[in-house]
């Protein structure tokens, strides 16, 4: 993978092209301005942030008990729970879940934790193919690069470059650069992926100790397409994703998308509590330096 070079080295190369740096700055400031506009339109914005911070402080100060409560509720809901100390253990757990079912293809929605654990490479080495379904991450994956931004994975790429990648990997005509047309191509291609994958993995935005449910937020709908079409649903989460009660989601969901991109809420905020009949649901709690 190209991304084996470190950030400083890659940034130095990127910074040589001044026009491109200006263009990239413009993109980031545009997002930042949208965030500020959205924050200013929300009454009691700073109080909301303070409340979120106080909830997280409480979580850290009582994490042991919340984790036990969350685990107990997950089990009651029919979810299988795993604990992983490090990346290796996390990846092994997922590999075992898949190989026990003879599954060699999985679709994945955005998960920074699985990036941190280098899950895709681990599974690829063992003959399991993973497709990233978030559009930005999908583009990065076919270009063999890791995401450059947690919300906007391919913010550094120009549309013409994406058109070139689609030409090479998906057989689209040369020179295609219209964002809507490129998105439609990916939609059609990935729909076939969703329809045929027996396993789907999602990240976790919030995990509610009180109820054992976990919430996954996307704008594209890719987490839901994967999760509801598969027979084996897997979620990977860092220990810090716990929140105490369902009502606390009100605070965090008001803040999340406004802070990230200036939207009032992500299009999809999905609350997974129990597997659907005939489906398996697995959740992995990952430490990897968090405890």
């Amino acid at each position: 993978m190209k991304g084996t070079q470190d950030h400083a080295t890659l940034a130095e190369v990127f910074n040589r092209d001044e026009d491109r740096v200006d263009w990239h700055d413009g993109a980031l400031w545009w997002i930042r301005q949208k965030r500020d506009r959205s924050a200013n339109l929300t009454p009691q914005w700073e109080e909301l942030r303070e409340a979120a911070s106080a909830i997280k402080s409480n979580v850290i100060s009582n994490l042991h008990d919340y984790l036990l409560q969350f685990e107990e509720n997950l089990k009651k809901n029919g979810v299988k729970v795993y604990w992983a100390s490090d990346a290796e253990e996390h990846n092994q757990i997922i590999h075992k879940i898949l190989s026990d079912k003879n599954i060699n293809q999985m679709v994945k929605s955005k998960s920074m934790l699985t990036e941190e654990c280098h899950l895709n490479e681990y599974l690829a080495d063992r003959g399991i193919d993973v497709i990233n379904s978030d559009l930005g991450e999908y583009i990065q994956q076919i270009d063999n690069e890791p995401p450059s931004h947690i919300v906007l994975p391919c913010i550094h790429k120009k549309k013409e470059e994406i058109g070139e990648l689609f030409h090479e990997h998906l057989g689209t005509e040369k020179g295609l650069s219209d964002p809507t047309l490129l998105t439609r191509v990916a939609r059609n291609h990935l729909r076939n992926v969703f329809m045929t994958r027996r396993a789907a993995l999602t990240g976790v935005n919030f995990a509610v100790a009180e109820t054992g449910e976990y919430v996954v937020c996307t704008n594209e709908g890719n987490a839901d397409m994967g999760a509801h079409l598969c027979e084996v649903q897997i979620a990977s989460m860092g220990l810090e994703k716990i929140i105490p009660e369902r009502k606390h989601l009100g605070v965090f969901l008001r803040l999340l998308a406004r802070s990230a991109i200036g939207q009032p809420i992500t299009i999809y905020s999905s609350h997974f509590r129990k597997p659907r009949p005939g489906q398996e649901m697995h959740l992995i709690l990952v430490d990897k330096g968090r405890s």
Binding site: A54, H64, L67, L68, N222, D224, I267, Y268
Partner: protein, 194 residues
Amino acid sequence: MSSRDSILAAVLKNQPPLTDLPDISGFKVPEEDVVEKYKNTFSGIGGLVYSAKNIEAIKNHIRENFDTEKRIVSTLPALSDVAEICSSSVEPQSFEDVELSIIEARLAVAENGAVWLTEEVMGHRIIPYISQHLAVVVYESRIVSTMHEAYAKIADEVYGFGGFIGGPSKTADIEQALVLGAHGPLSMTVYVIK
């Protein structure tokens, strides 16, 4: 020691002194017309909103605005002459060809335009995500102002799966250009009924 036990032991050992949870009952909203606010917010984020007098008006709107030759599904018995009433006991893949699904929201939130749906009203978990177009029926009395009020109502609800949906699926991953219709529906229509 298992990973579980060693992680829990490390967490316990490193926990800072207990701090209290904040009181979140103080997030009030100004007096406002939540129905108007809802409509404005939802249309502002790329949703389509129509005020409908009754179910009959919704049927007419569907006939005029959607391709009724294609597959239309709903969980609302009152719509059975424009839609197939969907079954939850079939494989999710069988809904791949759904052009339009029509669902009744349990709640709608004025501050962000989102509707709250649980799997009971969806018919099948996949339906509102796999349909090419999504339509949701919202009764005015179910519109709340903020997410705090929404969760106050959802508080003890028991569901296997539930979700807020706040518009058509979208992405801006290619040069921040907003494109409606990423992996989920290309459009989302809300019918607001008195």
